[in-house]
Symmetry: C2
Subunit: 417 residues, 2 copies
């Protein structure tokens, strides 16, 4: 991609109405733009990151045999009344129609996927199965000041699994926990599995939490064993500051602030019951289908990566989710023949990079090399490649990792080796 | 994909509450499921078709240099008040929040993309550019009985272009018209370019219409020259039945019912003005940016394909958008060694097909070969491959095109050649 053509240049000033690091850096670097609190537009660079994250999630979901579906955001009121959530779910947006009753604008899809699963009658032979989607969710958030970490509209992968018995549910649950660990790792994110309360239907749930001051959760991490969400430790410890250490249950715990990037729940029959979702057991009887649900916020992953992977100059993208791997920066020369050589090599490397992670070519005229370097740091592509008279004299191009200060001269033919 | 594992088997009965051919066939064949009128769930087969259509659109948009973005569905009320559409747009859904004013749930994105385009000041050097998204739209439809042809929630590609002058807009408009023609052709759809009224801002717009009795439009097709939407012919002709011929303007016109699968508009400064979207001209003055907008309904394309490409037994997918190219059907044999040979070959072809358009392998036990054939016709994959004792005796497998009655025996090693 030629940077001169890219929609969404960098901005010198931090947006006035943003307080979170992820929103400030992503906005300045040209990845997102705020339409209103909690609702962001993704610019071309942002779409590329989001798509890479979602492709990783899709690959890992397909790898465990879950099947991709796509469900509407607009849900009939009746389905949410059936589960008691039309009035019982605070963050539920309601949609007004001229022609019909109200609709729910879905923050989660149990009310949609359960009737879908019961589309035709189920036998024990059909179970277990898992259905997932990569889709847009809506939540009526009172505070939406954390950029991509808490949106009124956000991207999410939600998976629902259907089982004949608890053994099958437990096994699937652990399989997805392992899949989630792989997803976060591939996205370059450290995410801890943390025990949390299970709601009304199950004793525990599990969260995946990334330690960052930008997070809204407080987690307790023991020297050994399961980390716990604050809600599972005694109330006397609730007010512990993050970055401290406490004693509890005979162990020492680090207290950390963290952002929840995924969660998994055993729903048991909580949502199958209201919709009468049953299956025919081997003995011919009808039994309630048991369910699990598993969520990952893909847009929240994008925001969390920026929170944990940046420096004072800008974003540092992990390679797997970077919009491009290389940032190619030709430096202008007054010598016409040198300039031709530089331009030609830049364009050749740009093209070759297509099959090696892609490149953004800073072909902008009338921009100083200092500004180009500052923009490259802000945008945060993994590898910067500078081509100048000086580097050519030294026999190649100058290569620098975004997360290192060291540069080296590499022969241009060796860059993609 | 193993058919025994596929979520969403075929249904024997037509859904009681559907009247449109596309909804009936897509529901019975396991591509979609109705959540409520105008809002459909896409099952795994349906997601595959939708994704293939959207990938074709994306490729063609990228090919003309348009840049992909992603905008929220939730829009601030103020933006729609600025353009007079918060109360002026009948089909606009409104969203109620506990914490804030109402929001608009976007059926179109001028109110979002114009402020985005003005994110930083524009110069004549930045123009023209085009921004598109593949996204979910919402419309408060009084009648939503046409399956995927008219949804309250539907998938759409919308592109917006930004220009310094009309010459640039006209040129871009024709470039997109040509791109649309390629998109429909690649999707296996005949779509006519039809002149229609331009709304308040431009004399004409252009629609892309596919002739089908399921359509809601009436178009007039001359022997030579531009086809016209009914709204551009004299009122006395408005009541003409489809499938008739009329005289008008010294020409003979076929009157046909048609479904609009795309439309393109010159918006001029209609939406740039209310948001003050200007650019700095070469002479330093500020001028209004001119705009075009270009829409294609990807879910509507899916429905329209089914309307025009089916027979009494089911859907006939064009290869480019079929969920899989091959339907492999092994036929059970009582001879164990033959059965092993059949199963082994089926699984081998299934695997090889991965790099040749993919295959659905009908590995279901306890289903008669007659039922398997009926399901294959209903689902409508382009090529059926039957493996049985008989075909092996004849030296291969039996291959049949979905849109032909003829079968031929092909050596299994030659199938993918």
């Amino acid at each position: 991609m030629n940077q001169s053509q890219l929609f969404g240049g960098t901005l010198r000033e931090a947006p006035k109405d943003e307080v979170s690091t992820n929103a400030i850096l992503l906005t300045r670097a040209g990845f997102i733009h705020k339409l209103m609190a909690g609702a962001y537009q993704y610019l071309p660079l942002g779409v590329r990151v989001l798509r890479k994250i979602e492709d990783i999630i899709r690959e890992e979901m397909d790898a465990v045999g879950a099947q991709e579906i796509l469900m509407p955001a607009l849900h009939p009121k009746e389905n949410w009344e059936k589960t008691g959530r039309f009035h019982g779910f605070d963050a539920l947006f309601k949609v007004v129609s001229h022609f019909d009753s109200e609709f729910a604008l879905a923050p989660t899809h149990e009310e949609s996927v359960v009737p879908l699963a019961g589309r035709s009658s189920l036998s024990y032979k059909d179970l277990p199965f898992g259905l997932y989607q990569l889709q847009t969710k809506f939540r009526d958030e009172p505070r939406a000041k954390s950029g991509l970490l808490r949106g009124r509209e956000f991207r999410m992968k939600d998976l629902y699994s259907f089982h004949a018995d608890e053994v099958s549910l437990d096994e699937y649950y652990e399989k997805i926990a392992a899949s989630y660990a792989r997803i976060f790792k591939r996205c370059g994110l450290d995410a801890l599995r943390v025990k949390a309360s299970g709601g009304t239907f199950s004793k525990f749930s599990d969260e995946f939490q990334t330690v960052t001051d930008a997070g809204e959760d407080i987690i307790f991490i023991p020297e050994e064993g399961d980390a716990l969400n604050r809600e599972l430790v005694p109330e006397s410890l609730h007010e512990s500051e993050s970055k401290t250490t406490v004693e509890h249950d005979g162990k020492k715990w680090r207290v950390e602030r963290a952002a929840e990037v995924g969660n998994i729940f055993k729903l048991m029959s909580k949502y199958s019951k209201p919709f009468g979702l049953t299956y025919t057991a081997e003995d011919g009887s009808q039994k309630d289908v048991l369910m699990g649900c598993y969520g990952i916020g893909s847009s929240r992953i994008m925001g969390t990566i920026v929170e944990v992977s940046h420096d004072k100059n800008g974003i540092i993208w992990p390679e797997a989710v970077a919009p491009f791997k290389y940032h190619i920066i030709p430096v202008a020369s007054k010598d016409n023949s040198k300039m031709n050589e530089i331009t030609k090599l830049a364009s050749q490397l740009h093209e070759e990079a297509e099959s090696h992670g892609g490149a953004l070519l800073d072909d902008r005229a009338d921009i100083s090399v200092g500004e180009k370097f500052a923009d490259a740091d802000l945008i945060g592509l993994p590898i910067r490649v500078v081509i100048s008279e000086k580097t050519l004299d030294k026999g190649g191009v100058e290569v620098k990792s975004r997360n290192s200060q060291e540069t080296e001269i590499v022969a241009s033919r060796d860059i993609f080796k």
